[in-house]
Structure formats: structure tokens, C-alpha cells
Amino acid sequence: MEKRVQVSPPLTRGPSAFIPENEVMQANGLDERTNLLVEEYSTSGRLDNITQVMSIHTQYLESFLRSQFYMLRMDGPLPLPYRHYIAIMAAARHQCSYLINMHVDEFLKTGGIAEWLNGLEYIPQRLKNLNEINKLLAHRPWLITKEHIQKLVKTGENNWSLPELVHAVVLLAHYHALASFVFGSGINPERDPDTSNGVRLIAVNNFCVCDLANDNNIENASLTSSNFGIADSLSELEALMERMKRLQEDKEDEEASQEEMDTRFEKEKKESLLVISGAFDDEIVSTDVSRYVEDPGFGYKDFARRGEDHLPTFRAQDYTWENHGFSLVNRLYSDIGHLLDEKFRMVYNLTYNTMATHEDVDTTTLRRALFNYVHCMYGIRYDDYDYGEVNQLLERSLKVYIKTVTCYPERTTKRMYDSYWRQFKHSEKVHVNLLLMEARMQAELLYALRAITRHLT
């Protein structure tokens, strides 16, 4: 009966529904890239679509794979099946069945108890306790307090040790962020022969293909209004470059006062409120996914909600990744700090000095704007950043995309993906996705690690 459901064929045969296959496959530095892919294939025995899409950015892919490999397969505080189950729980928060399927297989392969896959009621209480923090991390990380940590680690039958908890938190953050990437880049389901029969494939297609490619008939006001022609977008690109140049050159000209900077951050924060990606009342969550989710109604609520201003801004300098986050993570789960550090550094510094058709462009400001804008939506503020830049550099359709991908990745559509930066190459858009993903992961980690630090002191 289930098998009769007609599944619309994927639009593209490649790894991504958004990006034409040949775009993924043609790349610069082909040799190095092939080597990397061969290596990945030989270690993991597969080459999933994520890897293929990411391989556009070979340098990054390497550090991504290394850290992912470390947290999933190398020595660590958590047993292997636990790690995959946590990945499933994390991905389920965003209904990312692509990741879920992948880790269901891995979970079983590493000797996980098949019964757990029936849903959250079947797992040990210890894992169940992780639900709360998973939920918060995924949607509103700023709500995590040291009480949450205390509850998890306080001695008892189902307590978590700190290293285990840190491992779990790293996994959760990684998979939340990866879900953003999967939806943001429209990763297609794997064409794995053994998953292609039966219910699972249907579920997969329901999500990754129908939802994304068919665009789900969303009429989005902000999107429809932004139907520029090609000519428009060309001038748009020129304008963007012009603004970037101006920002870089005469920054000192207009020195804003501290108060002015404060208001700019607040404004940006508030403005992110207005960026809404359409109403999704009719969210159909397949049972395949929902059984891993507790309290599915819990979603991202804007950090800066009008009327409730009591949430304190996270001042980035008080708890930075480089100084504090790293030290804590590395202390409790050795070596992951270095891998994550390298990954963050890599993604932040990655550039080819190109923008669309232009070469030799310094994209630092743009990258920084993207990174900081994501943090801004999570309420993290950099004292040394002028949030006016965000407004100048990031156009509205891009903001919509960013917000959707980081906060509600499951609602991303191809139209959103297409509507911003029309002149830019796909590889550049993937680069954007990488930035968003890592910024999000770092934001989640910072909140979680800060709570752990507070618990410790």
C-alpha cells in the first residue's frame, strides 16, 4: 500500500537539488580534490552527497571530514552507537531525514540496539535526558543555563560525565548545523540500493525532494517582490562591490559612537525579526522522523522579541571560542578542540578572492558580515563590529535565506536559494552555506560551553 505512493522523480540526478550536477563536478584543483574524495571513499566506504557538494571547497572539506571522523569514529567518551543516535536526535529536530537515514544505518552497523529506532520511548533514560538540551540548542541556545547542565551531570543513575556531555554537545551542535547545510544546499537523498525499497525512500523523498524542489507553493511576500531581472542583479552585484570597497577604504571617516553602535546592533537584531520566511502552519512531520522528536512544537523564537527585552546579549568577547570555548572543549574531550578550531579558522579565512565574475576581490568584510549576522540572530554581539555593515552588504533576500537556513532549515526552498545573489556561482553559494553552518555551530557551542563553564565555577 505504501509502495503505491507516487514519488516525483528528483529534478536533478546530482547530489544537490539546487545545484546542477556539472557545477558540483567541475572544480578547480581537480587533482587534489580527487585525492581527497578517494581517501574519503576508502575510509568510509561511501561518498555521500554532502561530501560531494562540499568538495567544491576542498580545503574546507578536509578539515570538515577530519573533525566529523574524529567525533564519530575515533576514541571518545561516548560509545559508538550513542554517537549515531545523538546525531539522529539532532537531525530530527530539523526533520532532516537525510541525516537520520544515514545515521540509522550507521547506528545499526556499530551495534546499536534496533529497538531504540522505534522512537524516544525506547531509549535509555540517560539519552532521553539529553532531549531538553537538544531542543534548546537547536532552536534557542540562549536559554541554556547552568541548571540544565547541573541536571544532566548531577550524580545519579543516569548522570552524564562532563566529557560525555561535551562530546554529546559537540555532536548535537555539529548535526544541527549540518542539517542547515543539507537543507541550505538542497542535498539530495542518497541513491543507496538498500534504502531504496520500502517506506524509507518514500519518506526521504517526501522531504528532500518534494518539499524543496517543488517549493511547496509558498507565496512569500518578500520573495515575490524581489523578482529582479538579470540586468538588475548585475547592477546589484556592482553595487555590492562598491559598498564593500567603500567600507574597507574609508572606514575611519564616519566613526560611530558607542551608543550608535549599540543601537545598530539592536536594530539589526530587531530587523531579523521582520525577516520571516513564510508561515508554515501545515507542517507534516512524518512519523519516521517524529518518533525521534520530543516537543516538536518547540522552534526558533526570535532572540529579540518585542516586549521582552530581558534576555541579556551575549557579548562575544566575554566568552570567545579561541580563548574559552577551545580550552574547555579540549580539556574535556581532548583534540576535538584543535579540529574544530581548524575548521572554524578555515571557513572564516577561506577565500578565492573572487566574487561572481570579478577577480581579486577582498571578501573579508562580506564573510565577516555573514558570520556575524548569524551570531547576531542568536544574540551574540561583537563589540568591535559595526552592524551597520550587515545592512549595507546583505540584501533582504539573502537575509531571508540566512535566517531560514540557520533557524528553520527545513523550510528552505529552491526559490530562496535562487533568489539571492543571482550572479554568483553555485560554488560561492555553497561557500555561504558553509559559513552559515559553521557560524551556527559555533554559536550553539558557545552557549552550551558557557553554561558548562558556569556550572564548573
Partner: protein
């Protein structure tokens, strides 16, 4: 120097100077907004009042002249964030800058175009540095990698002369004035204490201030020439002035003596030198060869401050080879069979092994186990007889002497003395058995106690049997129903030897009958045993089939308690599910880990692996799944191969060529550990079937097993 001048750096990139001498409420003096990112550090020139240096996240260092509005010069660190800048105290023009990527650069203030020197000091960001106030070449750096390093900059290449490992990333370092080797540190995370180290003694801080409740953010010695006052600020919103004599000295709390046993019974002992020397006139133990004493590095006694002697002496005592020999352990480990055969065979085999090593008690245990758990009733009576009768010199037997040979006058006191340790436990066992018997006896014949019963038999003639029975007693209480079986065939050829299986069935079906049967059987051989036998058979009536589990458990616990985890673990593995549930997981895990640890110390890797594999504990099983990475080096350039298994990145050569077919091997690669040649598994197998030499022609005699 101007006492009223203060400079601050802000997270938004502003450098502000304040003049406390200003009459107005606003003390702000100058404002520099040249940095684009957070400014991490500002530093005044030690002699020039108006010269201020700043280092920022944006990768630039700027030198300001406070008399001017703008910076005088800008130094670029090539877009790496600057974490600390420090003017050299002695060298007028030099300053050091530390970077987030682990580098330290030395600059000449007159040359903003290029740094003078650069070296990598740490893995990860270098958070701080400090020039030594006296020794002009010394620079201390502290990093996220939890190290404090002291560099000698006098040589052309910066040389690391001291290294102190702390427990958290180092946020600040400050040399202690007037103390050449002392340095104070505080950390950025987790650890709130301030430590003062003697860099020559890097393993234990010489002083420690524990006042702060949150992370210490800054430390400074109060006066340039006063080593006793330290100021510190912290995130807990307090500012402390520490007086040095208040500091706690971890050395006082540290254990100054170390003692360790080696595998082979050698003993190493380290203690303060003074203790050792006073001790040396004492007579060493007989049989111990005393080794020369090794001295650790002696410190410079001219040191003027709180010099704490850190020299200690290490002595090694060797015990003679005989007494401490652990050969039996190794042999047993090697010869025990733990799986792969029926239980009975395993037990027999292991019993034989134990007996072969003169460990009769263990051998007995194995035999018992076999009888208890293997339901086949074919007890090889000869074997039993053998094992028990012969072991007249072993401890259990001596104990049986101990208990009841007093009347018979077969004293073996000398031996008893030697086996004091064991006799204790044996006695306990005996006691328990006798109480057990006594209890049951109450029903049958009142008041008859065990020794008396024994005396009924003809002690002289049946010595062997008596001992044997008696020796059984420790286990007798464990194996009531088996006792008749194994005991009686010894002397008489009993026609009707009830098999254990029958017994069990009998028990289940008609307890009465079986009771009778056992009774009759047991009564036949020797009268003296009858009481015990009867009581056993009575007991038997009510027994569930796995009644013995608690007793076997006690046996295992007993062995483990004795320090013989080998037996405990081996039995555990052999019995598997039969006994597993009886013993709680943690104890099992504990035994396993101790046994595995022992095996590994004796380098019995294969056996330890087998044990890990056979163990049913999850925690133990996991051991084999961890650390499964295999690191390989390129066969050409001997460098580690990072990426692929078959092509070396450095020398661009295929590293793993098959020595037989000369193709690259992808997939299963087998190689000789002797000459490191190898190739396709199939090819090598085939080759070595016909030839014993290495296919590469190196002349090595490869083995393939």
C-alpha cells in the same frame, strides 16, 4: 614615569589613556580609534613615559606617542591576531609580540616594515609573554596549550630553556622580582588559582594563591623590587593583595616518597636524600641487592630565596629471582584454554595445567567446576584420585592436618608455619563447612562434631583419602551431591555409580528416593564419612539445580581476594553465562581490567586480547574497539603517510607495492614485520608456500602464519 597615567584597551578597538591627575571628574586623556578590532593588549615603554604600544585582533600593533593625536608607527603581523605586546626591559628599541597562531615576533621599534625575528613558541595561541627583569635574554611565554616556556633569546635561534606544564591555558605570566627563577602565572579558564613556579622545578608550583572564586584576569607584582606582594584581579569582582608568606605551598602537601613494585618483585623507592642517607647505616634485608643510589639533578645551593631542596634519591631493591618469580602466572596464562571446547574438556585441561604447576588448589577448583557444571556423569575417577592423592605437600592438605591431625600426631609444623597466609583462609572454610555439617547433623545424630567423626575412620591407612575428603571440605559445602560420587570410587569399585544426570532427575522427580540412594551410596565406602554424606544427601533433596552458583561465586571472590585474579577471570570466562549473573558487573569489570593489566605487563598481548574478546563485560569488550587506527610510514622516505595508504605525499611514490607482482596494493596488504616487504595477501601466501625467502630478494626469511 608618570604615576597618574593609565592606558586601557577596549573590545571595540579603542585605546584610551587616562590621567588620574586631572582635576575634573572625567579623567579621560586621549582616545585612539585606529584599530578595527578588539585591542588585546597595551603596554607602556619601561622608560619612555609617552610611548604606548598596542596589539589588536586585526593583526596590527601600533605605537602611540601620547603627545600626538595619532599613532607613530604601525607594525603588521600579517593578519594574525596579536595577543600580547611587551617592551623589552633592557633593550630600548625591542619589543616582543605574541600571536594567535603560536608565533612570537621580535620587532625593532624603529623598523616598522619587518620583524627582526620570529619563532613558533606554542601550539595554538600565545596569550602572554614577559621579559625577565634581570636577565635580558629571557622571555617567558604562556599559551593555550597549557605551557609556560622560557626562551633564551641571546642565541641566534631562540632556545627553549625551561618549560612548565600547567593544568589550564595560561592567561598571564609575570616574573617575580628579585628571584631569578620564579614566575607567577594565572589561567584563563577553569582554574582560578595563581601559581608561582620555580622554572627549574616544573612539576610542582612552589607557591599557590587560592583566594579567587572565579577566573583570575590579571596579576602584577606590586613593586619592581619587592618579591613579596602580588596583586590580582578576578572575574569574581575582587582585587587581592597577596603576601607571599600567606601562599600555600603544595610541596608541603605533596608526598615526598615514592614507592613502586615491579613485575618481578623488585622494589623502587625514592625519597629525600637526607632520609636515605640517615637510613643507610641500617642493615639491608638479606637477599636484597642494593643498587647504587641515583641522584636527581641538584639545584644551585646559592639560590637565595626559599630554596627548597628538590633533590631526592632513588633506590632500587632487587629481590632474588626465586621468591618473586611469576613464572607460574605466565605459564598458566599461556596454557589455559578458555573457550572453543566443551566445558568439561576446558576444565580438565585447565586443571591439568594448574596441577602441572603445582597449584593443586586451583586444579581442584577446576575439577570441582567441571563436576558441578558439566552434566555428564563420567567422572574420571583416576584423574581425581591422582590429583588429590598426590598433592600431599600442598597447602590445603596441610590445613587438614592442622585441623585434625593433632590427635594422630602427624605434625608438620614447619610446613604449617610457612603457609600461614593460606591457612587462615582455609580455616575459615573449614569452619564454615563444619558449621554447615553441624547444622544438618542436628537432625540425624546430635552432638557429633566433625573432627570426632573423622577420627572414627582409620586415619593411618586412609590418610590419602582422609586428606582428600577433608580437602574437599572447603568445597564440600559447595558440592554436596557430587561429593559421594567423586569420593567413593576412590577406594571401592562401586558398582552403581549414579551419574550426575540421574541425580538431578531424581532430585526433581522424587526427592525421597534420591535421598535414599545417595544415602546408601554414601554409606557404603567408609563409615567415617557417612555423616557428612548423609547430611549432604539430605540437603540435596531440597536443592535447585544451580544451587551452587553462590558458592562458586564465593570461590571466585576468594581467589580474587587472594590476588589471584587469573583464576577468577579464567573461571568466569569458562563458565560464561552460568555464573555471570551471580557476580555484579563492576566486580567482573574490575577483575578483567586487573587481569588484562597484568597480562599486558608481562607482554602477553595475545592472551590479553583473547581475554578481552571473550569477556562478556561491555566495558571490557570495547577495549578492543578503541585505538584501532594503524599508522604507517612510507617505505621509501620513512615519513608517516597521512592521506592514502598507497601513495606517499612527500616522495610521490607508491609506497605499498606488491613484492610479487609489482603492482600497487589497494585493499588487503600483508607485510613482513621483519623486512617490511609485502604485497597482495594472495600473492604472498602463494609465494611463501614455495619459498621461505622474501619475494623482494632482500634475503630475509619471512614467515607467514
Amino acid at each position: 614615569m608618570d604615576e597618574n597615567l593609565l592606558a586601557t584597551a577596549a573590545t571595540n578597538g579603542v585605546v584610551v589613556t587616562w590621567n588620574l591627575g586631572k582635576p575634573s571628574r572625567n579623567k579621560q586623556d586621549q582616545l585612539f580609534t585606529e584599530h578595527k578590532r578588539t585591542v588585546n593588549k597595551v603596554c607602556f615603554h619601561p622608560t619612555e613615559v609617552y610611548m604606548l604600544l598596542s596589539g589588536s585582533q586585526d593583526g596590527y600593533m601600533k605605537c602611540f606617542d601620547l603627545r600626538k593625536k595619532d599613532s607613530v608607527s604601525t607594525f603588521s603581523g600579517q593578519s594574525e591576531s596579536v595577543r600580547d605586546v611587551q617592551f623589552s626591559i633592557r633593550d630600548y628599541f625591542t619589543f616582543a609580540a605574541t600571536f594567535e597562531n603560536g608565533n612570537v615576533q621580535l620587532w625593532d621599534i624603529r623598523r616598522p616594515d619587518r620583524y627582526e625575528r620570529m619563532f613558533t613558541a606554542h601550539n595554538g595561541p600565545v596569550f602572554c609573554c614577559d621579559w625577565h627583569p634581570e636577565d635580558r635574554g629571557w622571555l617567558a611565554t604562556g599559551g593555550r596549550d597549557k605551557m609556560v616556556k622560557v626562551w633564551d633569546m641571546n642565541t641566534t635561534r631562540a632556545k627553549e630553556i625551561y618549560c612548565v606544564q600547567t593544568i589550564a591555558s595560561v592567561a598571564r605570566v609575570k616574573w617575580r622580582p628579585e628571584c631569578k627563577h620564579h614566575i607567577a602565572t594565572c589561567s584563563m579558564m577553569v582554574d582560578h588559582n595563581i601559581y608561582v613556579w620555580d622554572v627549574r622545578r616544573p612539576f610542582i608550583p612552589s607557591a599557590m594563591f587560592e583566594e579567587h572564586k572565579d577566573v583570575t584576569t590579571g596579576i602584577v607584582w606590586r613593586h619592581l623590587h619587592d618579591p613579596y606582594f602580588l596583586l590580582s584581579g578576578s572575574k569574581d569582582s575582587t582585587l587581592y593583595q597577596h603576601i607571599f608568606k600567606d601562599a600555600s605551598q603544595p610541596i608541603d602537601r605533596a608526598n615526598p616518597e615514592g614507592l613502586c613494585y615491579s613485575l618481578y618483585g623488585d622494589l623502587a623507592f625514592a625519597a629525600k636524600e637526607s632520609l636515605i642517607s640517615s637510613d643507610s647505616n641500617r642493615k639491608p634485608y638479606i637477599g636484597d641487592r642494593r643498587h647504587p643510589i641515583f641522584f636527581k639533578r641538584k639545584l644551585d645551593p646559592t639560590e637565595q630565596f626559599e630554596y627548597i631542596s628538590s633533590s631526592s634519591a632513588l633506590s632500587v631493591f632487587e629481590t632474588d629471582v626465586e621468591s618473586g618469580s611469576m613464572d607460574w602466572f605466565v605459564h598458566t596464562a599461556k596454557q589455559y584454554a578458555l573457550a572453543g571446547r566443551p566445558l568439561a574438556e576446558l576444565c580438565d585441561h585447565n586443571a591439568k595445567v594448574a596441577k602441572g604447576l603445582d597449584r593443586n588448589q586451583v586444579a581442584q577448583t577446576w575439577t570441582m567446576l567441571r563436576i558441578i557444571y558439566s552434566s555428564l556423569g563420567t567422572v574420571s575417577s583416576t584423574n581425581l584420585n591422582h590429583s588429590m592423592g598426590k598433592g600431599s605437600t600442598t597447602l590445603p592438605l596441610m590445613n587438614s592436618f592442622n585441623l585434625k591431625d593433632i590427635p594422630s600426631g602427624l605434625g608438620s609444623e614447619s610446613r604449617l608455619d610457612r603457609s600461614k597466609g593460606e591457612s587462615r583462609t582455609e580455616n575459615i572454610l573449614m569452619d564454615s563447612s563444619s558449621t554447615l555439617i553441624n547444622n544438618e547433623d542436628n537432625e540425624e545424630t546430635e552432638g557429633s562434631d566433625v573432627p570426632a567423626d573423622y577420627l572414627l575412620g582409620d586415619v593411618e591407612a586412609d590418610e590419602d583419602d582422609l586428606y582428600m575428603m577433608d580437602h574437599e571440605n572447603p568445597h564440600a559445602e559447595e558440592q554436596e551431591y557430587s561429593l559421594p560420587q567423586e569420593a567413593f570410587p576412590l577406594r571401592h569399585e562401586i558398582v552403581d555409580n549414579p551419574s550426575a544426570l540421574d541425580h538431578l532427575q531424581d532430585k526433581a522427580d522424587s526427592p525421597h528416593v534420591s535421598g535414599n540412594e545417595a544415602e546408601t551410596v554414601s554409606l557404603t565406602p567408609v563409615e567415617s564419612f557417612s555423616l557428612i554424606s548423609i547430611s549432604h544427601s539430605l540437603y540435596e533433596n531440597r536443592l535447585p539445580s544451580d544451587f551452587f552458583n553462590p558458592i562458586v561465586r564465593d570461590t571466585l571472590l576468594f581467589y580474587a581476594e587472594q590476588g589471584d585474579v587469573q583464576t577468577a577471570v579464567s573461571v568466569l570466562i569458562v563458565l560464561g553465562d552460568r555464573i555471570r549473573k551471580e557476580i555484579d558487573e563492576q566486580t567482573q569489570e574490575h577483575w578483567y581490567t586487573s587481569y588484562i593489566d597484568l597480562l599486558q605487563r608481562f607482554q602477553l598481548w595475545n592472551i590479553s586480547n583473547e581475554v578481552i574478546k571473550l569477556s562478556t563485560c561491555r566495558a571490557i569488550n570495547c577495549l578492543n574497539q578503541a585505538s584501532t587506527t594503524l599508522h604507517i610510514n612510507c617505505s621509501n622516505c620513512k615519513r608517516p603517510m597521512s592521506n592514502r595508504g598507497w601513495i606517499c605525499d612527500r616522495c610521490r611514490q607508491c609506497a605499498s607495492m606488491c613484492a610479487v607482482c609489482h603492482h600497487v596494493v589497494k585493499g588487503l596488504f600483508v607485510w613482513c614485520q621483519g623486512c617490511s616487504h609485502g604485497g597482495h595477501l594472495q600473492h604472498i601466501m602463494k609465494w611463501l608456500e614455495t619459498s621461505s625467502h622474501c619475494p623482494a630478494g632482500c634475503g630475509h626469511l619471512c614467515e607467514y602464519t
